[in-house]
Subunit: 155 residues, 2 copies
DNA sequence: TTAAGTGCAAATATTTTGCTGTCAC
DNA sequence: GTGACAGCAAAATATTTGCACTTAA
């Protein structure tokens, strides 16, 4: 779903194969859901979609697979400012670093790319002597459509 | 705890008073803990410390007060990359925008200030026609001390 | 006085763990 | 064949809600 919205299908599966990770019907279903999703999904949504491909997929298997993918650096975990619950959302990691802008009113999520993000990454690596693995920038606020309504509601 | 580590005491209480929010013994205790904390605390740590000042402070009151403070934009909620559980950490909002750098191995948290963060904020406001309320940048990786150990463990 | 705030109990939501059986390689 | 993976049940963790009592203003 994220930046290059048309991702090579089967890429995640291939990636895991190279790393000697065993493939199962359940995992294949979960990977397919993550690759073809058109918006950010949480664990229970991933389960629901995966079950349409492979009905046996259990909640626990979803969590175990997500944890596997995180460990291998193949998916990122997002909060999206916790609009719509305390859970997490997941997206395929791509080369393109981007940030997530969430409307606190309507829940809409925009993705945004900027070279400043990489600058910060480099700054932290140099100034803090720190090996950066993940950089997650989430922004919350009000989108163009909701700004008017918000002003009304608070004013 | 956060950037200007010596914050004016009683500031949070005064801030709430101006906004016509009722003050109670329990809230005073919680506010004092947040203002004087020397590192990022989660809800249950806030409760434990607040109970030393006012033993009756309940878990629920902590959550309700945190939610109040968030609503008023007086504290920020952090994940710190979920090192050490799924809960959240809280810090007093100050004028100085900064980001949090968490070591995935030892859990150490560094705070870092950079003008790029404000640049991104402005970019999002202009390019996305978006009113930014919160910008949370969290970085995970390995600190100088843990880099060696990590290389060993994975290699 | 009274609306806002509190504690307690219980519900809800999310994620993890233990165990036993199954399947990919 | 065997070790990694699956499902199921249950635990652990984090946060929220309902309700009757209390208290700040």
């Amino acid at each position: 779903m994220p930046f290059p919205s048309t991702e090579t299908p089967g890429r995640l599966q291939a990636e895991l194969a190279t790393r000697g990770v065993r493939m199962t019907r359940q995992r294949r279903a979960i990977l397919e859901v993550i690759e073809t999703a058109d918006h950010h999904l949480d664990a229970s949504q991933i389960q629901r979609w995966a079950q349409r491909i492979e009905p046996s997929v259990d909640r626990v298997t979803v969590y175990r697979t997500l944890s596997l993918l995180k460990r291998h650096g193949l998916v990122d975990e997002l909060d999206l400012m916790h609009v719509g619950g305390e859970g997490h959302y997941y997206e395929r990691v791509t080369g393109r670093n981007h940030l997530h802008v969430t409307c606190l009113n309507c829940g809409k999520v925009l993705e945004f790319e900027t070279p400043h993000l990489d600058s910060i990454r480099r700054e932290v690596e140099c100034s803090c002597c720190f090996k950066v693995e993940v950089a997650r920038l989430e922004i919350g606020g009000y989108c163009k459509e909701c700004c008017g309504k918000q002003a009304q509601a608070n004013g």
